[in-house]
Amino acid sequence: MENMLETVEHVAREEGGGPVTVIHLRIGEMSGVNIDALTFAFDVLKKGTVAEGGRLEFEQVPLEAKCRACGASFHPDEFVFLCTSCSSGDLEITSGREMQVDYILLDDDSKTDDSEVARTDEDGEVEADA
């Protein structure tokens, strides 16, 4: 979780630091992520960070395996990792193990109203330092 917030803060800072409103996560069907626990931890730890007013969005990525013996790709129903075409157990998991920050949404507008945006255009360096 700290790791996620570090990543988000780093990226947001590089992009001008605007408040983060959404953190979109891709979570594999077979990843050890408990969405409730993650959301709870996020709500506690986001205080005082660039994501303080933000929320998490989750996208579940289905499990998919590819057979190294016959090349077939399939969804291992009930976590049965045996090829549905040739019964081989020599498989590679090609998706479904994700635990990834896909993208974040930055609210550029909330920091400044229109007049301030205009002023930023005139002396951008000063504003950037502030």
Binding site: V8, V11, E78, V80, F81, M99, Q100, Y103, L105
Partner: protein, 220 residues
Amino acid sequence: MHEIHVGEDLRNKNREIAAENRDHLSEHRIVTLNLMSAPGAGKTSLLVKTIPLLEDKYRIGVIEGDLQTNRDAERIEALGIQVFQIQTGGVCHLDAAMVHSALHALDLSEIDILLIENVGNLVCPAEFELGEDARIMLLSVSEGDDKPKKYPLMFRESSVLLLNKIDLLEHVDFDIEKAKREALEINPSLEIREVSCRTGAGIDEWAGWIERFYTERKGS
């Protein structure tokens, strides 16, 4: 409002540190096993039973992961071997950075086999590589035979599954053939062994597995 693509896996940092640990351990010719299970499955008891069988031939070190206490480490210390306790302070798994610190606290030149006891938890430890050579999972028969399908990741990520407390089998509704079959569906190359830390059943054979694994990795 604008969208910024990040695309970063949250385990990347841990993976990098785990790779450093692996290099470091490999330089010292140490074989490392990461022991994972639910709380109370018998990880510490397994160590207490196994270490005496290996001690004549190998120098053993232990890293103990625990949420708060030193109790497990004290049980291992009584065996007179090097042990380092990591108190995670409530974090439900060990990560590579914690193990990295522990490696600096141990005298690695005096260790052949390093046994890491993870925090008791069937989910998160499976997501965090530590730099180990193999992952060993314990499942006690009193936990129920539905665990493989409910917590498939750890079964998938482990090389060996030890079914512990096998002496209790007649007292619990644990269909051992079903548990084995479903564990093998998740991980067809999983090696499954039956043990009892209480009666000692299967412990000699398990210690034998560790010896063979060490020899495969490092030569005799």
